[in-house]
Structure formats: C-alpha cells, structure tokens
C-alpha cells in the first residue's frame, strides 16, 4: 500500500505541473513575440517613431535615407477604427436587449432569447466573414458606391460577431443587480423605466463596461472575418467606405510570404507585439473597472 502522504505529494506535483506547463507556454509566447517584435528596432534599426507614426507601409521600398518605408499607423488606426465603430453599433442593441431579457420579459427572454444568444457566441468567425463578403459588402456597395470593402463593412461584420458575447455578458451584469435596489426604487414611486435608467443601469455600469471591453478585445483581435471584408489596402482610413487594413489583416496576409529574419518579417512581428500589448491593456482596464466597482459598492 502506498502511503497517503506520497499520494498527496504526487497529486499536488502532477496538478502543479499542468498549471506550470500552461504558464510556461504563455511566458514563452510573450518572450518570443517580444524578441522578434523588438528586433525591428534593435537589430534592423527602424526608428520607433517612424514605425508608430509613419503613414506609408511599403517595406520593400526605402526612403531617401535608405531605411524601409514602415509606417504602421494605417494598421493601428484601422484596428482602432473598426473596434470603436463596431462598439458603437453593438452598444445600444446589446444593452437594450439585455434590459429586455432581465427587466421586461424574463419569461421569453430567459427561455428563448438568452439561449439563442448563447448559441450564437459559438458561431465561427469565418462564417461571419463569409456573410460579410456575400451580403454586407454587396449591400454597402449598392448604396455607398465604391468597392463596398472598408471600415464600415468590417465594423458591421464585427458588430454582428461580438453582439452575442456582449449581450450575454450584459445580461449577467444586469441580472446581478440586487432586487432590493429595484424594490427600493419602486417603493419611492418610480415607474419601470425610471428604475431601469436611474437605478439598474447605473449600478450595473461596471459590469456593462466590462462586457463592452471584452467585446472590444474580441473585435480588436479578430483576424479573418475582418481581413475578408476590409479590402486590405495599407492606407490611412480616411473614409469609412474605402479599403483599409488592420493589424490582424496585415499579419494574416503577410506572414506566409516572408522568410523569417528579414526586415519585413520582423516588422510583422512588431505588429503582433502591438496586438499582444493591446490585449494586455484591455485586461488591465477590466481589472481597474472591477476594482473601482468593488470600491464604489463598498
């Protein structure tokens, strides 16, 4: 018979090893992406200011001083543009339907709408890209002219894609508002809408913001659905209806074409590093909101 103490030690070691493997993988990922991403600046000697604020992305050509034209601002601006615009589209619908599910029609909402929304969280993003390509792009082309590809189409596709995620998190946020708050408001003579507007939405605000930011994280990092409909032109997104590009799209298209270690390839890794840092920033914001929410609720 094996002594209990050693069973216990083996169990602790085995599960600890699993946790360690996951952690080491993440640290390796951050380290390797950072190593390749920083090589652009340390090894290839590209100036960070030219990289982050330059507006011409044409790494195979060089400027007068002989350094490659690598301005990543069009991608960075494109990524932010599609993320913010899709957020604007999503926000009213997600919060509106979450309020509907929790406050107006809990029966129908909880039994029908919520399960359907949760089901849709799982739809693969390429399917949304395909819908964008076959439905949204021709539709936008029809009334806005041009090619139909661009920031507007991409934002619409992203909005539909993150809508289920944001709605389902918003439902959780609104449902977690204690009923005593609602009763207090009704007791003071407020009607339902006044209760929703002044009490429920206000106390659910940190949760709703977290929902929106998690939606933004998904939108910012989405690669294929955006790449299929944005038109992939490395130009500053000056119009919503002309082809533009994002960090993820350039990575998706470019990585396979360049050998490792070339300046262009290093520049792509710098873009990946920007993506990585942005998603870290999003987590940080979620944590700050949670901390602030916990403080204001005592």
């Amino acid at each position: 018979m094996i002594p209990k103490r050693s069973i216990e030690r083996v169990g602790k070691l085995a599960t600890g090893a699993c946790a360690a493997v996951a952690t080491v993988l993440v640290i390796t990922l951050i380290f390797m992406v950072a190593q390749h991403g920083l090589a652009t600046f340390t090894v290839d000697g590209i100036s960070p200011s030219g990289f982050f604020f330059g507006t011409t992305w044409n790494p195979h050509q060089t400027d007068d001083a002989g350094s490659p034209l690598m301005g990543a601002l069009p991608m960075i601006a494109g990524s932010f543009a599609v993320t913010l615009l899709s957020c604007l589209f999503v926000l009213p619908f997600a919060i509106g339907s979450a309020v509907f599910v929790v406050e107006i029609a809990p029966g129908f909402g909880r039994k029908v709408l919520q399960p359907v929304v949760e089901l849709l969280v799982g739809i693969p993003s390429v399917v949304f890209g395909l819908i964008g390509l076959t439905v949204i792009v021709p539709w936008v082309r029809g009334w806005a002219g041009g090619t139909g590809y661009g920031v507007f189409s991409a934002s619409l596709v992203l909005a539909v894609m993150v809508l289920p995620t944001v709605t389902s998190l918003a439902i959780d946020a609104i449902a977690s508002v204690p009923d005593s708050y609602r009763e207090g408001s009704y007791g003071l003579g407020c009607v339902r809408w006044q209760t929703i507007w002044n009490v429920v939405l206000r106390s659910a605000a940190p949760g709703l913001m977290t929902a929106v930011i998690l939606g933004m994280t998904r939108a910012f990092g989405e690669a294929l659905a955006v790449q299929m409909v944005i038109g992939n032109a490395a130009a500053m997104p000056m119009s919503l209806f002309t082809p533009a590009t994002t960090l993820t799209s350039v990575l998706t298209m470019g990585m396979g074409n360049e050998a490792m270690g070339t300046v262009y390839n290093d520049a792509l890794w710098s873009l990946a590093l920007v993506l990585l840092l942005m998603s870290l920033a999003f987590i940080l914001i979620v944590h700050l909101i949670a901390r602030k929410g916990a403080r204001s609720n005592g």
């Binding site: 069973i7 169990g11 509907f100 849709l120 693969p124 076959t134 539909v160 990946a272």
Partner: protein, 304 residues
C-alpha cells in the same frame, strides 16, 4: 399643485411606455437578426449539405464540383487531438488552482498567465505556434502543430469552466471527505470530480464547438493544404494516411477562408456556403449535445 403632479405622473408613464416600446423593438431586431443569420447560412448551403459527393469528395482548385471530404475529417481529427491534450492539462491546472494553490506569487502568476491567454487574439496564438512548433521545433505545417496551437487557445476556456464546476461543489462534500481521513487528492478524485462531471462535460463540449470553428490559429500551424486521404493506408509516416499527425491539414473553417481569399474556385459561392452550413450545423450540434448531456448527467448523478 395637483395639476403639476398629475402632469408629472403622466409624463413618467408616457416615457415608460415609449422606453418599453423601444426595448421590445431592440430585442425584436436582435431576434430577427440572429434568426436571419442562421437561416441564411443553412438555406444558402442546403443544396450542398445533403450531397454525399460534396461531403466526401476531394476539394478542387480550378474546376467546379469540389468537395470537403478531407477538411471534414481533418476538423474532427484536430478537435479530437486537441481535446485529448487540453482536457487533462486543464483539469490538472484547475484542480491545482482550486484545491492546492497556496496564496503566493507563483499562484498569482499562473492565474494571470491563464487570463492573458484567454484574451490573446487567436491570430497571435497561431503566429506563436508558427514560430515555436512549426519553425523552432521543426514540425512544419502539421496536425500536431495545429493541435498544440488549439490547445493553447482552449486551455483558458476549459480551466475556467472546470474551476467553476469544482467551486460549485458544496464545501460540505469536501469537508466530509477530508473528515473521513481522505487526502486532498483522494477527495478530489473520488468526490469532487464526480460531482463536477456534468458541468465539466458540458464545458468540454462547448469548448469543442469553439475549437471546431477556429481558423486564425490554424492557418500558420496546421497549414492551408489538405492532402488527399486514403483511409486504407495505415502507414503513419505517409502523407495520405489520415492518422499521420505530421501531415498538413486544412480544416473546414480554414477552407472557407482560403478559397475566398484566393478566389480561383469557379463555384466559390456554392462551395463556401455549403462548407459554412456544414460547419454551422456541427457547431450547433455540439451546443445541443452539451445541453442535453449536461442535463442528462446531472439528473443521473442526482438520482443515485
């Protein structure tokens, strides 16, 4: 005075009615939109979904009538391998975090790392897989590289689900096990995990739906080509052996992306709509299966 109060009440009631109307309309729009998406995909791909030649045929690059046989198989095979690798790993990590983790720097690092992993864009995970598994370890575009990239994508989802399932087990059960002289490990294996099984199984199947439709993490790890498979070939080193984990393997989701970005297949719309419908049906099936199995298991365990 009474007049202004009456006017105020009237105003509040009208506002309430208008707001309720707008909220109902919003929910209606959402319902219509979600239903339209599913119906659109299923209807536009319907002619292909029930066509055995499409489901089993080999893909064509320059002529019409290509199928998705290898892609369909690759998707399921990759999913299976991913679950085989990621389930024990996530179970171990979750048990560690819930049952053993001391409150120290190491534990906080593990928690942060898993959270970071959950928020990473899947393309970044895919690029890391390309850098590490495909190039550094020299495994090339292969099923094993793809399965490991998907494992990284899947770990945070599974760890969270299993953690929640373990935490939801009433602490009486844990205390009872420990009070009977069981070690923490025995309590976990014999009491906590069986009690958490329904939620864990549901979580695994739901994550399977996510993994099944993932494409961005795969285009640079499992690759974008699907060698023709010969199911009578059991030579594990051969490119046409379906079970060879060193061959490249394009999945359904990658197939949709690739044929649309190349745009050379003549019946592009038909093939991609058909593939999307098959993909969607599989994902929906995973979701329904998760709900069904979760309910079934918890009923069975509760009855005992």
């Amino acid at each position: 005075m009474a007049d202004t109060v009456a006017a105020h009440i009237k105003k509040a009631r009208t506002q309430d009615r208008i707001a309720t109307g707008i909220l109902i309309a919003t929910a209606g729009v959402i319902c219509a939109l979600l239903a339209a998406i599913i119906i659109y995909i299923l209807v536009s791909g319907a002619s292909k979904v029930f066509d055995p030649a499409f489901l089993t045929g080999k893909p064509q690059q320059f002529q019409a009538g290509g199928g998705i046989g290898p892609e369909l198989f690759n998707s399921f095979y990759l999913l299976l391998l991913t679950l085989i690798i990621s389930t024990p790993l996530s179970l171990g990590a979750a048990v560690f975090l819930v049952e053993y983790a001391p409150d120290n720097v190491a534990t906080r690092t593990v928690k942060t790392a898993i959270e970071v992993l959950s928020s990473l864009p899947s393309i970044v995970v895919g690029l890391f897989g390309f850098l590490f598994f495909v190039l550094t370890l020299g495994w090339g575009f292969s099923i094993i590289s793809g399965a490991l990239a998907l494992t990284m994508f899947n770990i945070p989802i599974l760890v969270r689900v299993i953690q929640q399932a373990l935490e939801a087990v009433p602490s009486d059960q844990r205390d009872a096990g420990l009070a009977l002289g069981l070690t923490r490990w025995e309590t976990t294996v014999h009491i906590l995990i069986p009690a958490a099984i329904p939620a864990v199984v549901t979580g695994i199947i739901l994550s399977a739906g996510r993994v099944f439709g993932e494409a961005a993490a795969l285009i640079y790890t499992a690759g974008q080509s699907a060698p023709v498979l010969d199911f009578s070939n059991f030579n594990l080193a051969s490119m046409s052996c379906p079970w060879n984990i060193w061959r490249p393997a394009e999945t359904l989701a990658v197939h949709i992306w690739k044929i649309n970005s190349e745009g050379v297949v003549p019946d592009l719309t038909a093939v991609s709509n058909g593939t999307a419908a098959v993909l969607l049906l599989c994902v929906l099936a995973f979701n329904l299966l998760a709900r069904f199995l979760g309910r079934r298991l918890s009923k069975k365990l509760a009855a005992e």
